[in-house]
Symmetry: C2
Subunit: 195 residues, 2 copies
């Protein structure tokens, strides 16, 4: 292995550490959740639910997408699903970050990882949709389990929340019944406003 | 989906949140790293290095192993690689935790996830060895990048460190050259003692 290739790989992997300091809107315990531990939790959901959908998705693709899906947040930051101003600039910020981050790698590796990220974003394959369902389920369950301070602070309504969650519900089982049970709990606990 | 099955899945996924509070010996920034973000970082290494080894391992298996490999630490805690007393009881603690944690799931899912964990532990397949290489590389690089306070505190020698790292070095490229470069840096920066 050429020293330049070795050093490029080490530099990219060292950069990965920074995703542990990209904070999300949800809490875990008394602190904010970060995007690295979120991504692990999404992978746990994916392997747990892998055989609950038919046909079974290609799990190598699904888990690669999940591992890479938030890496651009190292530079672009996490954009809360209901941050309207942030959402307007999210795509441009994330694309610029992708150029820099994937550009650190030997080209064929950078292109392969970028292709996984693009495939997740494009939502055109069963694998991308399954990964999206796991991602949305994690974000939703994390808020419900941790008291949803971010939802309560902004007065989030169930209707507005559903704009975010409907694509995951539309995947059917197992996502729909799990998310519906979490909505029931969120409403019962006053984490979301009616309407 | 039967409500009992749905609720068992939700309870298992909610339990997963606790791995974000299992602290490791390494630091990330000013705080300790947790096992959930570690597991994500190992997955990032795996997808980055997937095509650097030949034959290419089955990445669905590798990434499932990586996602599950530390889940027993939710109950058993992380055991530092050089904690001799902890290592003596590690297997018994982790097996008891596995019984309880995987036992929360519908049986066929619990058995499948437990099989991934057992396969990683057994180190009998190319996939398990590749996942181990990624796990050791992450732990080592994390210490080197963050100043290795835990190594310096215990006066860890390179010889003793190699007992832990040799299985990953023995995998050859890309692990060997990357780990060797990190050793050079660790020695130059005084993170490990000579001998």
């Amino acid at each position: 292995m050429a020293p330049e290739r070795r050093d490029a790989l080490l530099a990219f992997l060292a950069l990965g550490d920074r995703l542990k300091h990209t904070l999300r809107a949800a809490h875990t315990g008394a602190r904010r959740e970060n995007s690295a531990e979120h991504a692990w939790h999404v992978a746990l959901i994916a392997i747990t639910l892998a055989e609950e959908v038919s046909p079974r998705p290609d799990m190598a693709e699904v888990l690669a997408m999940i591992a890479i899906h938030d890496v651009v947040e190292i530079e672009a930051g996490d954009t809360f699903a209901f941050d309207e101003a942030g959402l307007l600039t999210q795509m441009a910020r994330e694309r610029a970050a992708a150029e820099r981050i994937f550009g650190m790698l030997p080209p064929e590796i950078g292109q392969r990882l970028r292709a996984s990220w693009e495939a997740f974003e494009a939502q055109e394959t069963p694998e991308a949709r399954f990964a999206m369902g796991c991602d949305r389920l994690q974000g939703f369950q994390q808020q419900v389990e941790c008291g949803a301070a971010a939802w309560r602070e902004m007065g989030l309504t169930k209707t507005r929340s559903l704009v975010r969650m409907q694509p995951a519900i539309d995947l059917g089982a197992p996502f729909a019944p799990m998310i519906e049970a979490l909505y029931e709990r969120a409403m019962a606990e006053g984490l979301l406003r009616t309407a």
